[in-house]
């Protein structure tokens, strides 16, 4: 049978002190946790720090708390834990009053970081410390030796670069009319979606130009011309900034641009930005002139930083023919769409 001296005490089932900072010579607060092993009526907890540490001896500075967000999940707030009653820089012992503990329960509390504890002057490992509970008569209930370490630097500086970037995506490079062109109806293509993502602070712009300002048939040599009022020619002029309305039975061909998604944050499609008035068709018959030079079809701007996180516009071509439009199966067009971050 082992010899057990009178007054001998057992260690906690678990005990630890986790300081907020491990860096040497740094002011810190900390977390104290212990799981009692011995039945007793605890009335205080004594934390002994390593001899290399410096304790502020103003006990009132050693305030404590044990809120749910401050102690680890699964632990219990140390009952009636109170601001330290003493803090001795000679013995390195801080004494906190606390309530009776139940064996097998992990109790925790945190102590303040301001004007309380300063870690060792130099980095060192395995510096001895202890946690001890006592009764009101200062009889030890549980006591466990622990080790604390300090390092030269306990922080990692993380640096990263977010480069300026502009992403322009087209959902496809082909846009097919829903059906054969028909003198009784205005026919539209399925549409192609352009998506813009950019951290350009000045927003973005999109332009479009057309290869021959109309739907061209090589078989017949005929061009179903675009329509709309303009200055100069469709090849290199300037449209009037007003949408044109197609009428079934009358030849015409236009580009309609719709704001499909104004992603949250950053730039907005609000006036005077957004879809260019020339192309802002709001019915299935409206659109703007398909010019041979680049025309702004949409832009997104606003108070800087006017970034865009997936703004989308949809490009739809609409065409109407007359009864006399030459028949052919090869009417088609080439539209070039360019996007850029604003200067």
């Amino acid at each position: 049978m082992p010899f057990v001296p009178t007054g001998a005490h057992a260690g906690f089932q678990q005990a630890y002190v986790r300081l907020d900072r491990m860096k040497a010579n740094t002011a810190t607060g900390g977390l104290v946790c212990a799981k009692p092993n011995t039945v007793g009526t605890e009335a205080k907890v004594l934390v002994t720090f390593p001899s290399t540490y410096t304790l502020n001896t103003t006990a009132a500075n050693w305030t404590v708390s044990a809120g749910a967000t401050e102690i680890p999940a699964g632990s219990t707030a140390w009952p009636t834990i109170a601001t330290a009653s003493s803090a001795d820089n000679t013995t390195k012992v801080v004494t906190f009053a606390g309530g009776d503990l139940t064996v097998g329960t992990l109790y925790c509390f945190v102590f303040a970081a301001v004007n309380t504890l300063t870690t060792a002057a130099a980095a060192a490992n395995s510096q001895q410390a202890s946690v001890q509970t006592q009764t009101s008569g200062s009889a030890v209930v549980d006591s466990t030796q622990i080790a604390l370490s300090n390092v030269t630097d306990d922080t990692i500086t993380v640096t990263a670069v977010v480069p300026p970037s502009f992403i322009f995506a087209l959902s496809g490079n082909a846009d097919t009319f829903a059906g054969n062109l028909d003198p009784l109806n205005v026919v539209s293509t399925a549409g192609v979606v352009a998506t813009v993502t950019t951290n350009a602070k000045g927003g973005w712009i999109a332009w479009a130009k057309d290869s021959q300002q109309g739907l061209y048939s090589a078989n017949t040599g005929y061009t179903l011309s675009t329509v709309g009022t303009k200055t100069g020619t469709y090849a290199n002029g300037t449209p009037d900034g007003v949408t044109s309305t197609l009428v079934a039975g009358t030849e015409g061909y236009v580009l309609d641009v719709d704001a499909t998604l104004d992603a949250t944050g950053g730039c907005t499609f609000g006036s005077p930005y957004g879809i260019a008035a020339e192309y802002d068709g709001n019915t299935a018959f409206k659109g703007g002139s398909l010019m041979g030079n680049y025309q702004q079809i949409a832009s997104c701007s606003g108070t800087s930083p006017a970034t865009a996180n997936g703004d989308q516009i949809t490009l739809v071509e609409r065409a109407a023919i007359s009864g006399a439009t030459p028949a052919s199966s090869d009417y088609s067009d080439i539209i070039t769409v360019v996007g850029a971050g604003n200067f």
Binding site: F168, A169, Y294, T303, P305, F343
Partner: protein
């Protein structure tokens, strides 16, 4: 037999051009995603010298794509200074100064490619030149055929080049400083600063708009914090908005996107954040613009101010109505009490 065969061939050709099965020409729409970096590039150099810059491009499709580089120019036009992209003109010999280390290249998916751009300035170069380096996929700008249009997507990196010259004139002038409305019911109050570049090189103004109530500064709005440039002989508008109020109109967001109305414009909704109730705005305010630009020697100030009112008239009408009703209620109560007391007094007198 030979005649029958020829007849069938003729029929096949004729009907082949007339009868088109639905969807027969539905083309394979190949998506394209291009990412470029950096964004607008500002370069400067002495005439007779060279200047270089790296342009980075990445395509995010699944397959390796063949991309091409082409050169265009950009400018600004109109009262708002709208950016315009233009093909090379007959007099644009400065296009010949530009060399790329590659103009057509294979771009594997999600791998950055670097294109080295060198501009060799002749000794005659002076002031500003504005290039747009355009990246696109080879083969997208070819005709697809029947019933299908081709859409060729491209991204442009804008390059602003200044050729140093002692006669460079950097001059910005205020064209207008205005509020969207003179009277607002609720914030935001929106401002527009329009500046004209009357010089011969681009310039970027920066500054603040101070919102004052009497002599007290209420808010500070940043002007052109993004460093946007104004091209020579053009104008540009810079927006600013003061939205630090209660209540305030806010853009409606749904499922991570801005809600748009049927005209594609953002839908606005009045937001009542009672924690901001101390920012209830009412009365006359003054917006003071203080901006500067660098004329090459020192900062030149641009100052202006505009006044506007915030009058939450509907809110005040409701408040007035409530106060009227309360006043009427108090009046009725007091009147009833007084009448009751009078009747009681008369009854007492009658009994006597």
């Amino acid at each position: 037999m030979k005649r029958l065969f020829l007849g069938l061939m003729v029929l096949a050709v004729v009907f082949g051009n007339v009868i088109v099965a639905p969807g027969a020409f539905a083309a394979d729409a190949k998506p394209l995603t291009l990412q470029t970096s950096p964004l607008p590039i500002s370069l400067s150099a002495d005439p007779g010298k060279s200047v270089t810059t790296d342009l980075r491009i990445k395509q995010n499709g699944g397959d390796t794509e063949k991309l091409k580089v082409s050169l265009m120019k950009f400018g600004a036009y109109g009262e708002e200074g709208k950016p315009v992209l233009t093909d090379r003109g007959p007099a644009d010999t400065y296009f010949d100064w530009v060399k790329f280390d590659k103009t057509v290249f294979d771009a594997p998916a999600n791998v950055w490619q670097t294109v080295h751009m060198t501009i060799n300035l002749p000794k005659s170069a002076a002031f500003g030149y504005y290039y747009a380096v355009v990246f696109s996929r080879v083969g997208d700008d070819v005709r697809q055929g029947g019933r299908t249009n081709s859409l060729s997507g491209a991204t442009a990196v804008l390059v602003l080049l200044e050729a140093h010259n002692p006669n460079a004139k950097r001059s910005l002038q205020l064209s207008s400083f205005a509020t969207e409305h003179r009277i607002y019911e609720f914030l935001p109050a929106k401002f527009r600063v329009k500046l004209a570049n009357t010089g011969n090189v681009h310039g970027a103004p920066q500054g603040d708009i101070f919102i004052m109530k009497g002599k007290k500064q209420i808010a500070t709005l940043s002007l052109n914090s993004g460093g946007g440039n104004i091209l020579p002989q053009s104008k540009r508008s810079f927006p600013a908005a003061w939205s630090d109020g209660f209540p305030v109109y806010d853009t409606v967001q749904e499922d991570g996107k801005t809600k748009l109305d049927k005209n594609g414009k953002p839908v606005q909704k009045l937001k009542w954040d009672w924690t901001q109730a101390n920012k209830f705005r009412f009365g006359k305010y003054t917006a003071q613009l203080f901006a500067v630009y660098d004329d090459g020697k020192h900062d030149v100030p641009i100052e202006a101010q505009v006044s506007f009112w915030v009058i939450p008239w509907r809110f005040l009408l409701v408040l007035l109505l409530v106060l009227t009703l309360v006043g009427f209620g108090v009046y009725s109560t007091v009147r009833g009490t007084v009448r009751g007391v009078s009747r009681g007094t008369r009854r007492l007198k009658g009994r006597r």
